[in-house]
Symmetry: C2
Subunit: 294 residues, 2 copies
């Protein structure tokens, strides 16, 4: 028996001076420089294929279901009748895949600034990008900030599936963008935002929610777990003109939807809004307490 | 201005071929070889002081509150009248600190096999170990397996605050140990076990719960988030002879206890038992569904 002397290759993503996350890599499947960022897709040993933008992990095949189920089913099963959905970002296609599982959804507009992300995921991650051919989906390669400024279309749910507030996604965290997104929402509209790590990025969270505050009736935040972002615990903002994620949700909605999930379920929908004490305290002046009814 | 040319030192903990977690280190405060394991305490840049056994991170000052609040307050605010508490392991003292916040607790027996862990934490992590002088605490340096075999004392709550099932902690995952611990519990007793990562270690979880199953009326599992264990999402087993963590808990218990927490709160107590679908499915034949009442 020969000993395998191939050196191991690990990629590491460092988050400030705080933490580094490493994954063992078998091979690089795609590497490209778009107008906006570096894009890599690698085959990992433990997490399937993995997408990185500018060296920061976006998704892995192993755990993307948690992120994509939670960013979509929570708003779509809260809003009483979501027919038109706007996705800003989400180039890998996972958010669109989950949104399109809802039979009542008639039209999805997905606005992704970077076509290279979509093309790479279409080629190398079909389990994530496979729903991008759905006839209900309009896929626009343009700046989401410009889109919400210039479009006159109205949506029931807007999902801001962005990267971190550096590089191409930075303007997606501005109050002007949130104001224009709110203006694109119908009367009972809901906006979901990728809202970073409660452990490591409370300052970004505070800035985001302060920028959203003037444009919505209530702001909540909910949590889920990821394997590929530093700290593991991650958050989405739930900004609403009306529907309440606890009062306007019931288990029958999920049963009637007939959607298969691996992470999301009705108990978890509610539980996700229960925040650790330090998380709520960091944001207490910016978030509304969800009505747990006890 | 001079440029700092000191090289950066990062320590990395690898979990199989799956993932590596790295932390930036300023200095090593303690390094010792006990009869059972290597013990290090390091000063990190982003997580305060950190304890490692055999190179595996045990706790950091930055996030230990999440682990220690969740392993203690969930059972102690579920059991109707917890007076006597057994802790197996828990050498850093954090679990004892939280248990002793409960005024109704009259006696705590803490059985730690490795005195060097306790001594190092007493010297370098007083914010964690500071309650070990409490007169209600009996601290025994001996094998927890032998203790539950030979003791005839009875406890309301047993907390198995162990490391992973390798090295000195391995026998703490055996069915014989669980049987003897159950025998040490009072009529309505509850046993809590550190039960590993739902993402990365479902096989260990299945073995643990199968080994506990014959000795308890119901088995549940609950989740919390940590910064220092691979995957971020972590779990505790809740094995009970009677009390139900949802039905026998109410918000008044927490208010009456007058305990200050940074992670635990009544909403989170309930929410922690809501498992992602894939987590429950991995263990569906071994765990009881908690009664969410909806």
């Amino acid at each position: 028996m020969e000993r395998d002397t191939t050196p191991e290759l690990w990629i590491y993503e460092r988050h400030k001076d705080l933490v580094a996350l490493g994954f063992k890599v078998e091979s690089t499947l795609f590497s490209g420089q778009s107008d906006f960022q570096n894009i890599d897709i690698v085959q990992t040993t433990g997490h399937g294929k993995m997408l990185l933008n500018d060296g920061v992990v976006m998704i892995s095949e192993r755990d993307e279901f948690a992120y994509h189920e939670m960013i979509t089913h929570v708003p779509l099963l809260t809003h009483p009748d979501p027919r038109r959905v706007l996705i800003i970002g989400g180039g890998d296609g996972g958010t669109a895949r989950e949104v399109l599982k809802h039979k009542g959804v008639q039209r999805v507009v997905m606005v992704e600034i970077d076509k290279m992300v979509v093309d790479a995921c279409r080629e190398y991650m079909p389990s994530v990008s496979g729903s991008l051919e759905d006839p209900r989906l309009a896929l626009l390669f343009e700046d989401g900030v410009r889109y919400v400024k210039e479009s006159d279309e109205t949506f029931d749910v807007a999902i801001i599936d962005s990267t971190d507030p550096v590089g191409p996604a930075a303007p997606l965290f501005d109050t002007a963008f949130y104001a224009r997104t709110a203006a694109r929402l119908s009367e009972r509209g809901v906006m979901i935002t990728q809202s970073e790590s409660p452990f490591y990025d409370p300052e970004i969270q505070r800035s985001m929610f302060a920028n959203q505050r003037p444009h919505f009736r209530k702001l909540h935040m909910y949590l889920f777990s990821t394997l590929t972002y530093p700290g593991g615990l991650w958050s989405f903002g739930f900004a609403t003109k009306g529907p309440c994620p606890l009062r306007d949700f019931n288990n029958d909605r999920f049963a009637a939807a007939g959607i298969e999930t691996r992470y999301y379920n009705p108990q978890l929908h509610r539980a996700a809004f229960a925040l650790p004490t330090f998380v709520f305290e960091q944001l207490a002046d910016l978030l509304d307490s969800p009505p747990f009814g006890d």
